[in-house]
Amino acid sequence: MRRDVFQAIADPTRREIIGMLAYQKLNLNAVADHFSISRPAISKHIKMLTECGLVVIEQQGRERYCTASLGQLGEVSDWIEQYRQFWNTRLDNLDKYLAKTQKQKKHAKRKSD
Protein backbone atom coordinates (compact mmCIF):
# COMPACT_ATOMS: atom_id res chain seq x y z
CA MET A 1 0.00 0.00 0.00
CA ARG A 2 1.24 3.47 -0.83
CA ARG A 3 2.03 5.49 2.27
CA ASP A 4 2.50 9.20 2.01
CA VAL A 5 2.86 12.03 4.41
CA PHE A 6 -0.69 13.24 3.63
CA GLN A 7 -2.14 10.02 4.98
CA ALA A 8 -0.16 10.68 8.12
CA ILE A 9 -1.72 14.09 8.65
CA ALA A 10 -5.19 13.19 7.37
CA ASP A 11 -6.27 12.07 10.81
CA PRO A 12 -6.78 14.58 13.67
CA THR A 13 -5.38 12.14 16.26
CA ARG A 14 -2.23 11.68 14.21
CA ARG A 15 -1.89 15.44 13.80
CA GLU A 16 -2.10 15.73 17.58
CA ILE A 17 0.54 13.01 18.07
CA ILE A 18 2.89 14.83 15.68
CA GLY A 19 2.22 18.04 17.62
CA MET A 20 3.11 16.36 20.92
CA LEU A 21 6.28 14.75 19.58
CA ALA A 22 7.44 17.94 17.86
CA TYR A 23 8.40 19.33 21.29
CA GLN A 24 9.62 16.27 23.13
CA LYS A 25 10.58 12.66 22.91
CA LEU A 26 7.92 10.54 24.64
CA ASN A 27 7.56 6.89 25.44
CA LEU A 28 4.63 5.02 23.93
CA ASN A 29 2.68 4.96 27.19
CA ALA A 30 2.96 8.72 27.64
CA VAL A 31 1.56 9.23 24.15
CA ALA A 32 -1.28 6.77 24.75
CA ASP A 33 -2.14 8.29 28.16
CA HIS A 34 -2.82 11.62 26.48
CA PHE A 35 -5.76 10.19 24.52
CA SER A 36 -9.06 8.69 25.58
CA ILE A 37 -9.04 6.18 22.73
CA SER A 38 -7.69 2.67 23.23
CA ARG A 39 -4.00 1.85 23.39
CA PRO A 40 -4.15 -0.48 20.34
CA ALA A 41 -5.77 2.35 18.36
CA ILE A 42 -2.91 4.69 19.36
CA SER A 43 -0.37 2.00 18.44
CA LYS A 44 -1.99 1.74 15.02
CA HIS A 45 -1.68 5.50 14.52
CA ILE A 46 1.96 5.45 15.60
CA LYS A 47 2.68 2.54 13.30
CA MET A 48 1.23 4.52 10.41
CA LEU A 49 3.31 7.55 11.37
CA THR A 50 6.48 5.42 11.39
CA GLU A 51 5.55 3.94 8.01
CA CYS A 52 5.19 7.47 6.64
CA GLY A 53 8.60 8.32 8.05
CA LEU A 54 7.31 11.00 10.43
CA VAL A 55 7.96 9.17 13.68
CA VAL A 56 10.91 7.06 14.72
CA ILE A 57 10.73 4.53 17.57
CA GLU A 58 13.83 3.84 19.63
CA GLN A 59 14.19 1.12 22.19
CA GLN A 60 15.87 2.45 25.35
CA GLY A 61 16.15 -0.27 27.95
CA ARG A 62 12.63 -1.48 28.57
CA GLU A 63 10.99 1.63 27.14
CA ARG A 64 10.12 2.46 23.56
CA TYR A 65 10.47 6.13 22.79
CA CYS A 66 8.86 8.01 19.93
CA THR A 67 10.53 10.98 18.29
CA ALA A 68 9.25 13.10 15.45
CA SER A 69 11.26 13.20 12.26
CA LEU A 70 9.85 16.36 10.81
CA GLY A 71 11.86 16.71 7.60
CA GLN A 72 9.06 15.03 5.66
CA LEU A 73 6.60 17.66 6.81
CA GLY A 74 8.24 20.03 4.33
CA GLU A 75 6.21 18.26 1.66
CA VAL A 76 3.09 19.12 3.64
CA SER A 77 3.95 22.78 4.12
CA ASP A 78 4.70 23.08 0.37
CA TRP A 79 1.32 21.60 -0.34
CA ILE A 80 -0.47 23.86 2.16
CA GLU A 81 1.08 26.92 0.48
CA GLN A 82 0.04 25.69 -2.97
CA TYR A 83 -3.39 24.77 -1.66
CA ARG A 84 -3.87 28.16 0.02
CA GLN A 85 -3.22 29.83 -3.35
CA PHE A 86 -5.52 27.31 -5.03
CA TRP A 87 -8.40 28.36 -2.76
CA ASN A 88 -7.55 32.06 -2.69
CA THR A 89 -7.88 32.17 -6.49
CA ARG A 90 -11.20 30.39 -6.33
CA LEU A 91 -12.60 32.50 -3.51
CA ASP A 92 -11.63 35.64 -5.50
CA ASN A 93 -13.40 34.17 -8.52
CA LEU A 94 -16.44 33.46 -6.40
CA ASP A 95 -16.52 37.14 -5.46
CA LYS A 96 -16.35 38.13 -9.16
CA TYR A 97 -19.04 35.61 -10.01
CA LEU A 98 -21.31 36.95 -7.25
CA ALA A 99 -20.67 40.56 -8.28
CA LYS A 100 -21.72 39.69 -11.83
CA THR A 101 -24.76 37.56 -11.03
CA GLN A 102 -26.07 39.66 -8.15
CA LYS A 103 -25.79 42.80 -10.30
CA GLN A 104 -27.75 41.08 -13.06
CA LYS A 105 -30.33 40.07 -10.50
CA LYS A 106 -30.65 43.64 -9.22
CA HIS A 107 -31.04 44.92 -12.78
CA ALA A 108 -33.65 42.32 -13.51
CA LYS A 109 -35.48 43.23 -10.35
CA ARG A 110 -35.33 46.93 -11.16
CA LYS A 111 -36.64 46.26 -14.66
CA SER A 112 -39.56 44.31 -13.30
CA ASP A 113 -40.35 47.00 -10.68
Binding site: F6, Q7, A10, E75, W79, Q82
Partner: protein, 168 residues
Protein backbone atom coordinates in the same frame (compact mmCIF):
# COMPACT_ATOMS: atom_id res chain seq x y z
CA UNK B 1 -19.15 10.70 5.56
CA UNK B 2 -16.76 10.38 8.44
CA UNK B 3 -16.75 14.13 8.94
CA UNK B 4 -17.01 13.75 12.70
CA UNK B 5 -13.38 12.73 12.92
CA UNK B 6 -12.39 15.75 10.83
CA UNK B 7 -13.81 18.30 13.25
CA UNK B 8 -10.59 18.92 15.19
CA UNK B 9 -8.48 21.80 13.93
CA UNK B 10 -8.09 21.55 10.17
CA UNK B 11 -4.85 21.88 8.24
CA UNK B 12 -5.95 24.96 6.31
CA UNK B 13 -8.53 27.57 7.33
CA UNK B 14 -9.45 30.57 5.18
CA UNK B 15 -12.03 33.26 5.87
CA UNK B 16 -13.60 35.66 3.39
CA UNK B 17 -16.33 38.22 3.56
CA UNK B 18 -18.71 38.68 0.66
CA UNK B 19 -21.06 41.65 0.25
CA UNK B 20 -23.92 39.33 -0.58
CA UNK B 21 -26.49 37.31 1.34
CA UNK B 22 -25.64 33.75 2.40
CA UNK B 23 -28.26 32.39 0.03
CA UNK B 24 -26.43 33.83 -2.99
CA UNK B 25 -23.07 32.44 -1.82
CA UNK B 26 -24.63 29.06 -1.04
CA UNK B 27 -26.29 28.90 -4.45
CA UNK B 28 -22.92 29.37 -6.14
CA UNK B 29 -22.13 25.85 -4.86
CA UNK B 30 -25.43 24.27 -5.85
CA UNK B 31 -25.60 25.02 -9.57
CA UNK B 32 -23.34 23.25 -12.06
CA UNK B 33 -22.81 26.29 -14.29
CA UNK B 34 -22.05 28.54 -11.33
CA UNK B 35 -19.48 26.09 -9.96
CA UNK B 36 -17.87 25.63 -13.36
CA UNK B 37 -17.58 29.38 -13.79
CA UNK B 38 -15.88 30.32 -10.53
CA UNK B 39 -13.84 27.12 -10.18
CA UNK B 40 -11.70 28.02 -13.20
CA UNK B 41 -8.60 29.83 -11.88
CA UNK B 42 -8.22 31.92 -15.05
CA UNK B 43 -9.51 32.29 -18.59
CA UNK B 44 -6.68 30.03 -19.76
CA UNK B 45 -8.33 27.18 -18.03
CA UNK B 46 -11.82 26.02 -18.95
CA UNK B 47 -14.00 24.05 -16.55
CA UNK B 48 -16.98 22.08 -17.84
CA UNK B 49 -19.51 20.56 -15.49
CA UNK B 50 -20.28 16.93 -16.35
CA UNK B 51 -22.90 16.23 -13.72
CA UNK B 52 -24.13 17.63 -10.44
CA UNK B 53 -26.22 15.96 -7.79
CA UNK B 54 -26.26 18.40 -4.90
CA UNK B 55 -27.18 16.24 -1.91
CA UNK B 56 -25.27 14.22 0.73
CA UNK B 57 -23.21 11.54 -1.08
CA UNK B 58 -24.10 13.17 -4.40
CA UNK B 59 -21.37 14.05 -6.90
CA UNK B 60 -20.24 17.08 -8.84
CA UNK B 61 -18.09 15.80 -11.70
CA UNK B 62 -16.17 18.17 -13.91
CA UNK B 63 -13.49 18.38 -16.55
CA UNK B 64 -10.74 20.97 -16.69
CA UNK B 65 -9.05 21.76 -19.99
CA UNK B 66 -5.56 23.06 -19.39
CA UNK B 67 -2.55 23.75 -21.58
CA UNK B 68 -1.12 20.49 -20.33
CA UNK B 69 -4.18 18.50 -21.29
CA UNK B 70 -7.53 17.60 -19.75
CA UNK B 71 -7.98 16.74 -16.07
CA UNK B 72 -11.02 15.39 -14.32
CA UNK B 73 -12.11 15.85 -10.75
CA UNK B 74 -15.12 15.46 -8.52
CA UNK B 75 -16.71 16.66 -5.31
CA UNK B 76 -18.47 14.05 -3.19
CA UNK B 77 -20.85 16.03 -1.02
CA UNK B 78 -21.15 15.33 2.70
CA UNK B 79 -23.29 17.21 5.17
CA UNK B 80 -25.33 20.03 3.70
CA UNK B 81 -27.44 22.57 5.55
CA UNK B 82 -29.23 25.06 3.36
CA UNK B 83 -27.48 28.42 3.33
CA UNK B 84 -24.88 27.73 5.99
CA UNK B 85 -22.99 24.43 5.55
CA UNK B 86 -21.51 22.50 2.66
CA UNK B 87 -19.04 19.65 3.07
CA UNK B 88 -17.39 17.78 0.26
CA UNK B 89 -14.40 15.62 -0.54
CA UNK B 90 -12.40 16.84 -3.50
CA UNK B 91 -10.65 14.20 -5.63
CA UNK B 92 -8.88 14.14 -8.94
CA UNK B 93 -10.25 11.34 -11.10
CA UNK B 94 -9.75 9.71 -14.45
CA UNK B 95 -12.25 10.22 -17.26
CA UNK B 96 -14.56 7.60 -15.76
CA UNK B 97 -14.65 9.24 -12.33
CA UNK B 98 -12.31 6.83 -10.53
CA UNK B 99 -10.11 8.56 -7.94
CA UNK B 100 -6.51 9.02 -9.10
CA UNK B 101 -3.43 10.87 -7.88
CA UNK B 102 -3.47 14.51 -8.93
CA UNK B 103 -1.91 14.94 -12.37
CA UNK B 104 0.71 17.71 -12.71
CA UNK B 105 1.02 18.17 -8.95
CA UNK B 106 3.87 16.32 -7.35
CA UNK B 107 2.78 16.66 -3.78
CA UNK B 108 -0.97 16.60 -3.42
CA UNK B 109 -3.09 14.37 -1.18
CA UNK B 110 -5.20 11.70 -2.82
CA UNK B 111 -8.39 13.27 -1.50
CA UNK B 112 -9.18 16.45 0.39
CA UNK B 113 -12.00 17.14 2.81
CA UNK B 114 -13.50 20.64 2.57
CA UNK B 115 -16.03 22.25 4.89
CA UNK B 116 -17.56 25.58 3.94
CA UNK B 117 -19.61 27.42 6.56
CA UNK B 118 -21.52 30.62 5.91
CA UNK B 119 -22.59 33.22 8.41
CA UNK B 120 -24.73 36.14 7.31
CA UNK B 121 -24.90 39.44 9.13
CA UNK B 122 -26.48 42.58 7.77
CA UNK B 123 -26.63 41.25 4.22
CA UNK B 124 -22.92 40.32 4.24
CA UNK B 125 -21.67 36.78 4.45
CA UNK B 126 -18.56 35.45 6.13
CA UNK B 127 -17.34 32.29 4.46
CA UNK B 128 -15.02 30.00 6.42
CA UNK B 129 -13.27 27.25 4.55
CA UNK B 130 -11.64 24.48 6.57
CA UNK B 131 -9.75 21.77 4.81
CA UNK B 132 -7.55 18.76 5.50
CA UNK B 133 -6.29 15.77 3.57
CA UNK B 134 -9.07 13.21 3.64
CA UNK B 135 -8.39 10.03 5.44
CA UNK B 136 -9.44 7.34 3.00
CA UNK B 137 -7.30 4.85 4.86
CA UNK B 138 -9.08 5.55 8.11
CA UNK B 139 -12.39 5.13 6.34
CA UNK B 140 -11.27 1.76 5.05
CA UNK B 141 -10.26 0.87 8.58
CA UNK B 142 -13.64 1.98 9.92
CA UNK B 143 -15.46 -0.11 7.34
CA UNK B 144 -13.32 -3.04 8.33
CA UNK B 145 -14.08 -2.41 12.00
CA UNK B 146 -17.82 -2.26 11.33
CA UNK B 147 -17.69 -5.45 9.32
CA UNK B 148 -15.69 -7.11 12.04
CA UNK B 149 -18.26 -6.08 14.67
CA UNK B 150 -21.20 -7.28 12.61
CA UNK B 151 -19.33 -10.53 12.00
CA UNK B 152 -18.85 -10.93 15.75
CA UNK B 153 -22.51 -10.15 16.42
CA UNK B 154 -23.46 -12.68 13.79
CA UNK B 155 -21.23 -15.26 15.42
CA UNK B 156 -22.62 -14.54 18.88
CA UNK B 157 -26.17 -14.84 17.61
CA UNK B 158 -25.34 -18.23 16.10
CA UNK B 159 -23.72 -19.37 19.34
CA UNK B 160 -26.78 -18.30 21.33
CA UNK B 161 -29.01 -20.18 18.94
CA UNK B 162 -26.79 -23.20 19.31
CA UNK B 163 -26.96 -22.93 23.11
CA UNK B 164 -30.76 -22.82 22.97
CA UNK B 165 -30.83 -25.89 20.78
CA UNK B 166 -28.44 -27.71 23.09
CA UNK B 167 -30.47 -26.70 26.18
CA UNK B 168 -33.59 -28.41 24.87
Amino acid sequence: MQSASQTKESVLTLTRQYDYPAEAVFNAFTEADALAEWWAPSDMFKVSALSLDFKPDGLFRFRMDTEEGPMWAKFTFGNIRRHDLIEFVLSFTDEKGTVTRAPFFESWPLEIFVRVTLEEEGGKTTLTLESSPFNATQQELDTFQQNKDSFRQGTEASLQRLEKILAR
